[in-house]
Symmetry: C2
Subunit: 186 residues, 2 copies
């Protein structure tokens, strides 16, 4: 008997998002999610710590795109330029076909402060990871943290615009970096 | 019989912080906090929604300092300059004598992800309020949000440095704004 079916994790994530969007986060139980996928609650808890974490499964893959961009930035680049690389490199994670899913997820986040807080923690963790990668490349503090946080800021705002538009994420990010540079230099 | 004693709110806040720091957030109950102040749990819940909110009582006064700075910024100032005014104006909220309390509170926050998330939400709410105040003054989007978020970023980093140093918050903020401008302009 196959107990750890391939794809269970992804199916739990999809079912949870669907239930949160239709029934509401508060009115959905772990039992509901497990039942929708045809597994036990115990199986749910093998994959996720709680009802909220199921929406935050891909954090490592999400961070990896940014970190790759930092690695591939040219030698001698300024911190903000390295971070620009990181943010644009990660934009591949949010391809066109991901937009409907991201929109649904965003709707659930906006409707639930509890999930919103977790999303803020995810962004904060990203900034911490990027600042650390910048320091590893030789950027001193506070520049490393300022640049990393600026990159996460541009990413956040670009991502929100992306959800409401049909432009590519990379295009929006490039524009926002230009506006950010012009604004901060004043 | 005086049931709504003056200062109860402040005494609950002080007792809660003290208990969270010594006994730990998870191991402190609302009953413990109420008992430390000599009131009932019901009284606690008249003032605060839950155990976490008791650390987030002064949000309006906190935001007011920033908003005052936006109001008082000179006509025709650039968005980032208006935000600089806001951040420096709010530094008065964190006077020297507040540092020990702020240090204790920070220690409790860092030790508890649940409180950390709430602190991030407080900062996010501050950015939203400041962006709105900038728009009211005529700053267009995305400049209003970029400037507001940049201000909150500088404030956050300056505040962390302030907790670990003996310099004034305004001094640290001024330095960080200069570093931020130099970094972003590259």
């Amino acid at each position: 008997m196959v107990r750890w079916e391939a794809g269970t994790r992804e199916r739990l994530q999809a079912a949870a998002l669907d239930l949160y969007a239709t029934r509401g986060f508060d009115d959905t139980t772990v039992a509901d999610i497990a039942a929708a996928v045809g597994v036990t609650e115990r199986t749910f808890f093998r994959h996720f710590a709680d009802k909220r974490e199921v929406l935050f499964g891909g954090t490592e893959a999400f961070q990896a795109g940014f970190l790759e961009g930092i690695e591939n930035a040219p030698d001698g680049a300024e911190p903000i330029e390295i971070i620009r690389h990181a943010v644009l490199s990660a934009s591949g994670f949010f391809a066109e076909e991901r937009r409907p899913h991201s929109r649904l997820r965003q709707r659930v986040i906006v409707a639930n402060p509890e999930i919103q807080e977790r999303e803020l923690l995810k962004m904060s963790a990203l900034a911490t990871v990027l600042a650390s990668a910048l320091r590893d490349r030789g950027t001193a503090e506070p520049s490393a943290t300022l640049a990393a946080e600026s990159g996460v800021l541009v990413f956040r705002l670009a991502f929100e615009q992306w959800l409401e538009s049909d432009r590519s994420l990379a295009e929006i990010e490039s524009d926002l970096f230009a506006q950010f540079g012009a604004l901060a230099a004043k």
